[in-house]
C-alpha cells in the first residue's frame, strides 16, 4: 500500500486534495471538503459523505453543479455527526441543506444525529437515502438495499437542480426520484486490502469471483467460478433490469471498483451495451470509469437510471469538480 501509517491515511489524502484542487476548501482537522465559494446565496446546499475508500466519491464530486461539501469518514467507516453539522453550517445560505446518505446503518445513524443537531442550530435539513443495490433484498432480513453507484447520479442531478436555484423541496424530490429510478449490481474479481487490516478482507482465489458485492470489501451473495466479461454483463444487467423494468432510455454507469483496468472496463461496457440492446433498452448517456470504488478491489458494477427529460437535462448541465467536469 502507498501509505505512511494506517492512522493518517484520510488526513494525508485530504492534504493531497487541498494541494491539487485550489477550488476546494479542505479542513483537514475537521475532515471537510467544501466548495470554495460556499455558501452560495439562495442556493440549497448539498452535503454528502461516507466512509473513505470509495474515491472519487464523495470529495471528488464537490464543486459547482454537484456537491457543496463532502464529509469523509475513516476508511469504510461512516463519518461522525460533527462533520455533517459543520458542513451544513458551512454551506447553508438560508435555503436549507440536503443530506445525500447511502443506506448503511452507520451512515443513516450518523447523518440522522447530524440532522437533528443541525436543525437545533437553525439549518433546515432534508435527507435522501440512496439504496440502489439489487443484490440485497429489501426485507426484514436485511438492513435494506445498499447505496452504491446511484449516489453519483443523485449527486449530479440534484446538484444541477440546486445550482439552478430550486428550493429545498424540489431538490429533495428530484434526488428521491433519481434514486427510485436507479438500480445497481456489483461483482468482485479480487478482494480488498484496507490500510488498517493490511491483508485482503476475504480470500478470493484467482479462478473465482463474487457476485452481488457492495463497496466495502464485504463478500458478495454468491461465489462462482470465473466468468467471461460477457457472462458477467449478462448476470449484472439482467439483475438490474428485472428489478428496474425501465420503459424508456437509461443513464448507464459502468463502474470500476478500483483495480480493474480501464481497458477491461471499456470491453465490459461493450458487453453491457449488448445485453441492453438484446433487452430493447435504449441508452441515453454512458459513463465508464472508476467512480464509486472500493480501494484496490478488482471488479465492476453496473448502475442504470431510467432518466426522464428533466433528469437528462440536469445530467448534461455544467459540472466542475475534480472527478466530473463538463460544460464549463
Amino acid at each position: 500500500m502507498l501509505i505512511n501509517v494506517p492512522e493518517t491515511v484520510v488526513a494525508d489524502a485530504l492534504r493531497g486534495i487541498a494541494a491539487a484542487h485550489p477550488d476546494l476548501t479542505v479542513d483537514v482537522e475537521n475532515r471537510l471538503v467544501v466548495r470554495r465559494d460556499a455558501p452560495v446565496a439562495g442556493k440549497v446546499g448539498l452535503v454528502s459523505g461516507g466512509g473513505s475508500g470509495h474515491e472519487p466519491l464523495h470529495a471528488g464530486f464537490v464543486g459547482p453543479g454537484m456537491l457543496s461539501a463532502a464529509c469523509p469518514g475513516e476508511v469504510f467507516t461512516s463519518p461522525v455527526p460533527d462533520q455533517m453539522v459543520r458542513a451544513a453550517a458551512a454551506v447553508d445560505s438560508g435555503a436549507g441543506v440536503l443530506f445525500v446518505v447511502k443506506n448503511y446503518t452507520g451512515d443513516v445513524l450518523n447523518f440522522d444525529m447530524a440532522a437533528e443537531l443541525a436543525e437545533d442550530e437553525g439549518v433546515r435539513v432534508a435527507r435522501v437515502l440512496v439504496d440502489d443495490d439489487v443484490a440485497v433484498a429489501d426485507s426484514t432480513f436485511t438492513a435494506g438495499r445498499r447505496g452504491t453507484g446511484a449516489t453519483l447520479f443523485v449527486e449530479k442531478i440534484a446538484g444541477a437542480l440546486a445550482d439552478e436555484g430550486a428550493p429545498l423541496e424540489q431538490v429533495e424530490a428530484v434526488a428521491r426520484r433519481v434514486n427510485e429510478s436507479s438500480r445497481s449490481f456489483g461483482v468482485a474479481l479480487g478482494a480488498v486490502t484496507t490500510p488498517a487490516k493490511g491483508s485482503p478482507t476475504f480470500d478470493l482465489p484467482p479462478g473465482e469471483l463474487e457476485l452481488g458485492i457492495g463497496i466495502h470489501g464485504e463478500p458478495g451473495r454468491e461465489r462462482r467460478p470465473m466468468m467471461t466479461s460477457g457472462e458477467i454483463a449478462d448476470v449484472a444487467v439482467h439483475a438490474v433490469l428485472d428489478d428496474l423494468r425501465p420503459t424508456g432510455p437509461v443513464l448507464a454507469l459502468v463502474n470500476g471498483m478500483g483495480a480493474t483496468p480501464l481497458l477491461e472496463l471499456y470491453g465490459f461496457n461493450a458487453e453491457v451495451r449488448r445485453v441492453l440492446s438484446e433487452r430493447g433498452v435504449p441508452v441515453a448517456r454512458t459513463l465508464v470509469g472508476n467512480y464509486v470504488t472500493s480501494l484496490d478491489m478488482a471488479g465492476c458494477s453496473v448502475t442504470l437510471c431510467q432518466a426522464d427529460e428533466e433528469m437528462l437535462r440536469l445530467w448534461d448541465a455544467p459540472v466542475r469538480t475534480p472527478a466530473l467536469r463538463w460544460g464549463r
Binding site: 466512509g51 461522525v80 446503518t105 445513524l109 440485497v136 438492513a143 445498499r146 484496507t194 488498517a196 478482507t201
Partner: protein, 205 residues
Amino acid sequence: MLDTDFFRRWMTATASAVDREADRLTGLDSAIGDADHGSNMRRGFGAVTDVLEKESPGTPGAVLVLAGRQLISTVGGASGPLYGTLLRRTGKALGDAAEVSLDELAEAFGAGVAAVAQLGGAKAGDKTMLDALLPAVEALGESVGAAGDAALAGALATVPLRARKGRASYLGERSIGHEDPGAASAALLVAALAEAAGTGDGGRA
C-alpha cells in the same frame, strides 16, 4: 456502592481490552463486515480515555455521558452512534448521584440497552451487539462477574445466527458460522465492569 472512579476504571479497562483485542475484532468484521470494527473501537475508547483525563467529570453519570458523546464524535460507523447512545443513556439514567448501587447500574444499563435497540431497530437474535448486551442486563443485578459471563456467552451464541441487521445482513445465509464483531466488543465492555470492580470480588458492592 460504585463511585465515579469505578466508572472511570470501567472506561479505561474497556479501552485496554479493546486495544488488546482490536485485531480479533477487525478479523471478525472482515469475515461478515468491512474489517474496521477493531480500529473503530480502539479509536473511540482511546478518545474516551483522553477526554476523561482532560475533563474529569465528577459523577458516574457524567463520566458515561461524556464517554458516550466522545464515542459519537470519534467512532462513526454503526458502532459509534450505538455505543455512544448506550453510554449516554446509561449515564443519563444514573442522574447526578455521586455513588450508585449495582442495582441502580443494572437498571440504568437496561435503559441504555433499550435505547440501542430503539435506535438500531434490532432485537434479540438479529446477530448484533444486543445479543451480548441483553443477557448482560439480566445478569447484572446478580453481579458484574455474572454479567460478563452472560455477555460472553451471548456473543458466542451469535455464531450460528443469520444476521438481520447491519452490514452482515447483506451476506444472508453466508453470515452464519461467524461471531458478530459488535457482540464480541460488547462482551469486552461488560467484562471490563468486573475488572473495574477489582478481580474476584464479583462486584457485589
